[in-house]
């Protein structure tokens, strides 16, 4: 058993690609070897900026000899069949093996030397390597068929035990020679075998193991911070990136001018991280300190003094830029930025960002006025005062919570105000430089410009939650704006027929929908989805119609009653405009007709889209999707809070013994009804109902008992549902379980007397209807 070492040495591999490259190398290597029946006891992979390496443990010296057997015709088959088989296999009659009256062609494949398998496998792996981006280079690139690699490939070390596996690809020949650190040890090194690879490189200032480089940086940076009396702000992504940029990492702490601390800490952290890949530190009080930690790739003989000084200057220039943006932005009231939003196209068929802001402001106000978002003083105020993210948040001064006593009118005004200002920071200098600071900067500017703290907080947090696991806002002003923004986004794109399909979701509508679900669930918002969608789509239609009218002529814009809110009347308005001779735009205008068609379908499409999103989201919370289907199937339930309460009660119930048996009884009843083609409603339902309520014969005891049980359970279940007490509704249904079982045990539904048969079918239909007051049990699996 022998170990194999492969090193592919190239010019600098982008840090972000190194982890995946290691995985791909291991995967391709395993697959190539498997083709020859070889497998390693273990595979270890390494990546540095300049090399990708693999060590495979305990490879056998050669592959196993295999004998391949191909089944031929029966010995009794006509001679033509045998001739055909001999032609196919290239064998003669006496080379075939006869067994159980069948011919077999047996080929013995001797074992192959592992080295020769590797010599074929490695070039195949290199040629097939799935780099996210690859390139050609050098004289060979006269042909576009020349070898592609992430950056120019320079050397291959391939050693099986201590023997070089001969490989040649694109003019590179394998050897035992590699090179050390670019500056510390630029000369060649000879590797003996996989056993000394890691240590020989270490001696030449290359730490081949990425995990070791990460711990060197983590430890060094933490120590450097501690030595300065500070705490390092941990950042896993940055750690991995820095480890991917150095073969010999040396973390160094530097200081920047304290005056830059006047800039918000998130801005400093982002500048340091994104532009320079530096860590930042906190002081003892938890505030951002005027210090950074950079990671050099060299052990300089002045202990890095010059390196730190150079990096300090670069950071200072960056922070000076950031400070310039911050100071300049602060001078312009957010209100004054609105005209600039009119110049940014949100989507060519949905107008500008200013149009969106207008719709969101109306929606935010509507959400409060309808009593959907209310003051909720009892709720906790999590989500306020969070920094960049939960695990690396710097402390930011939180505004005081919204005063609980203020009325609905004030809340509506705050929600509208926050919505009107929420997108203004998109045209500030700082957000132009760092788009990821959108929202946050608006919050800072609003607070500095004297906006109500709740309004400033809403501007800051209105993009949240940006996905599962993100903080979900609970402050009512923020909730109203965040919800309105996301509702408008999904409604707008559905209104113009831009629906997500398969893996394509260019406008991140699934994420917006998830955000809406999380907001509703977290604050238990009583929102009728169809109503909200109608309102939002109506707003889109109105602004679309307005745009059409403006295009036709300014005076006609006045035709639009800007207070008209419902979708239907806006549609009518557009249609009446189309018939207006003065307008000159006709129904067959492709833009207008396409919009009318897609917007008309938007609300039902949105409801089914949300049903799907809800199932995806709830699956992660352990809720069964069939139960969600069972509740959705009732129709008309689009209040998610009530829907989920119903689903949860249902999930608890169906796992009890009563639940399981009731489900079995229900299914038996439903199957009989289905077989008999008995409708729940419509023609034939009325006589059935009559038959059920007034039996004209003496029912059997079990039949009478079931009637009695239904008489009691039906109103109890209906009452409980009306009260939204779904546990009680389930309990009411549970009382049916024993009578149903008894009925099926004692009574024959298909009685020879057709009247009795009808009456009993009617009774079963009543059972089914009673169960359906809670959920459509036919959708429940099991």
């Amino acid at each position: 058993m022998t170990d194999f070492l492969l090193e592919l040495r190239s010019e600098e591999i982008p840090a972000r690609m190194q982890d995946k490259a290691r995985d791909d190398l291991a995967r391709l290597f395993t697959a190539e070897l498997a083709k020859s029946g070889l497998s390693a006891a273990a595979i270890v992979t390494y990546a540095t900026p300049r090399r990708l390496a693999l060590i495979a443990r305990d490879l056998p010296p050669e592959t196993l000899a295999v004998s391949e057997e191909v089944k031929g015709p029966k010995t009794s088959a006509p001679p033509q069949a045998l001739d055909g088989f001999l032609r196919k296999t290239g064998l003669t009659r006496d080379q075939l093996v006869e067994r159980d009256g069948i011919f077999f062609a047996v080929t013995e494949k001797p074992g192959r030397a592992t080295a020769s398998v590797l010599a074929e496998a490695i070039p195949a792996i290199i040629r097939a390597f799935p780099w996210p981006k690859s390139m050609r280079w050098g004289a060979a690139s006269t042909s576009t068929e020349s070898l592609r690699w992430v950056r120019p490939l320079h050397g291959i070390v391939a050693l099986l035990g201590e023997t070089i596996v001969p490989i040649e690809i694109a003019g590179i020949t394998s050897s035992a020679t590699t090179y050390g650190h670019r500056f510390h040890h630029p000369g060649p090194i000879t590797i003996g075998s996989a056993a000394d690879y890691v240590e020989k490189l270490r001696a030449c200032h290359v730490i081949i193991d990425q995990a070791e480089r990460q711990s060197i940086i983590a430890l060094g940076a933490t120590m450097a911070a501690a030595k300065a009396g500070l705490t390092l702000v941990r950042d896993e992504g940055l750690l991995i990136e820095n480890a991917g940029l150095a073969e010999w990492p040396v973390p160094l702490l530097g200081r920047f001018d304290e005056q830059f601390l006047a800039v918000p800490p998130e801005v400093i952290q982002l500048t340091a991280r994104v532009n320079q890949k530096y860590f930042v530190c906190r002081d003892a009080a938890g505030n951002l300190a005027n210090a950074f930690v950079c990671t050099a790739n060299i052990d300089a003989h002045d202990d890095g003094a010059k390196i730190v000084e150079g990096n300090r200057k670069v950071l200072a220039a960056r922070l000076a830029d950031a400070r310039f943006f911050y100071d300049t932005d602060l001078k312009v009231p957010l209100d004054d930025l609105h005209p600039k939003l009119e110049k940014i196209v949100f989507h060519e068929r949905l107008g500008t960002v200013a149009d969106k802001v207008d719709r969101v402001a109306k929606l935010a106000r509507w959400l409060v006025e309808e009593g959907i978002v209310t003051q909720s003083p009892s709720r906790s105020r999590e989500g306020l005062g969070e920094g960049l993210s939960a695990n690396e948040a710097l402390s930011v001064t939180s505004p005081p919570p919204t005063p609980p006593a203020s009325g609905r009118g004030e809340l509506a005004a705050q929600a509208e105000r926050a919505a009107r200002l929420a997108k203004a920071d998109l045209v500030t200098g700082m957000v132009g430089e760092f788009p990821e600071l959108q929202g946050l900067m608006g919050g800072y500017y609003a607070a500095a410009q004297g906006e109500d703290p709740a309004v400033a907080a809403a501007i800051r947090d209105h993009y949240k939650p940006v996905g599962q696991g993100d903080d979900v806002p609970t402050d009512p002003v923020t909730v109203a704006v965040s919800l309105a923004d996301k509702l408008d986004t999904v409604a707008s794109f559905f209104a113009i027929g831009e629906l997500p399909t398969g893996s394509k979701d260019p406008f991140a509508l699934r994420r917006a929908a998830l955000g809406i679900l999380l907001l509703i669930e977290r604050s238990s918002l009583r929102l009728r989805l169809h109503q909200a969608f109608d309102f939002a789509v109506g707003e889109v239609a109105q602004s679309f119609g307005y745009t059409v009218a403006m295009r036709i002529g300014g005076d006609l814009a006045a035709v639009f009653d800007k207070t008209a809110r419902d979708f239907a009347s806006t549609r009518e308005l557009i249609q009446s405009l189309l018939h207006d001779e003065r307008v000159g735009v006709h129904e067959d205008n492709p833009v207008v007709s396409a919009f009318l068609e897609s917007s008309n379908r938007a609300t039902p499409a949105l409801l089914s889209f949300f049903a799907d999103r809800l199932k995806v989201q709830q699956r992660e919370a352990g809720v069964r999707h069939d139960l969600i289907d069972a509740v959705f199937a009732l129709g008309g339930e689009d209040d998610l809070v009530r829907l989920l309460a119903r689903v949860r009660a249902l999930q608890a119930f169906v796992t009890t013994e009563d639940g399981t048996n009731l489900l079995a009884g229900y299914k038996r009843a439903a199957n009989i009804l289905k077989k008999e083609n008995v409708a729940l409603a419509g023609e034939g339902a009325a006589p059935l109902a009559a038959a059920a309520s007034t039996p004209f014969y003496t029912p059997e005891p079990a039949e009478a008992a079931l009637h009695a049980a239904l008489d009691a359970a039906e109103p109890a279940a209906a009452d409980a549902v009306a009260q939204e007490d779904f546990e009680a509704a389930m309990a009411a249904l549970a009382t049916l379980r024993a009578p149903i079982d008894a009925f099926f045990d004692a009574v024959t539904v298909n009685d020879v007397d057709p009247d009795k048969r009808i009456a009993r079918l009617a009774l079963l239909a009543r059972v089914r209807a009673a169960v359906h007051t809670v959920a459509d049990f036919s959708k429940i699996e099991g």
Binding site: K133, G138, N297, I298, K306, G310, V314, A317
Partner: protein, 288 residues
Amino acid sequence: MTNPLSFQRMILTLHDYWSDHGCLILQPYDMEMGAGTFHPATTLRALGPDTWNAAFVQPCRRPTDGRYGENPNRLQHYYQYQVILKPSPPDLQDLYLGSLAAIGVDMNLHDIRFVEDDWESPTLGAWGLGWEVWCDGMEVTQFTYFQQMGGFDMKPVAGELTYGLERLAMYIQDVDNVYDLKFNDAGVSYGDVFLENERQMSTWNFEVADTDTLFDQFRKSAAECENCLSRGLPIPAYEQAIKASHTFNLLQARGVISVAERQAYIGRVRDLAKGACGAWMEKNGWAV
């Protein structure tokens, strides 16, 4: 670094270095352009199978980067040192590091890093893979292996080095303000040469340039480019594309091009540049 190089001495040192390594030393192109890559010695000469090694300084104009001479790091007019080597030699990184050593960068005392930065020029229909080279955290060079130019695959690939001369000099001379750079060793500073230029040009770029004239120029350059192409003259056609590109940059600085229009203008310039590159390929008989 006991006696750091002046700005002009640094340029002369790079000229000597790249001349010694087989490059033609060319002079700046006599037209306004946003980057050294626009120089026909890069754009047009990068195309086709011929060996081509050249180095030159190219003044770059980026009207929107003007700061009226008040920002110590930003200029609307600055110099790039441009090296183009086709095919890209196998030791291009070492050659480059040698040039840094020549101008006085001690790589055992400073941290040189190759950080992923893929280059793309939407107006030239060009892209390549490479890095920005960091020296103690500062980007001093753009290092690119061109993969496409004017929409054509490179056959073979050319390596391009673009040094930011002012940044590199600020670093070597250890000054914080570009205007404090020593231009020569006789007491003339960068500010003496260029500060007033920055002030006046910023004012013109942002406030004065007549936009009607500029729009007109853009249209005329585009039309003239087409005219040259129809007459089988790729070089003058390419010059008109450069003019259109710079006129577009000026219009942007004047803030008269909306976000929606911007893409259309870039697309127009790209079509002109691609047209010129295509005609150049055809003229030279390089089958497309």
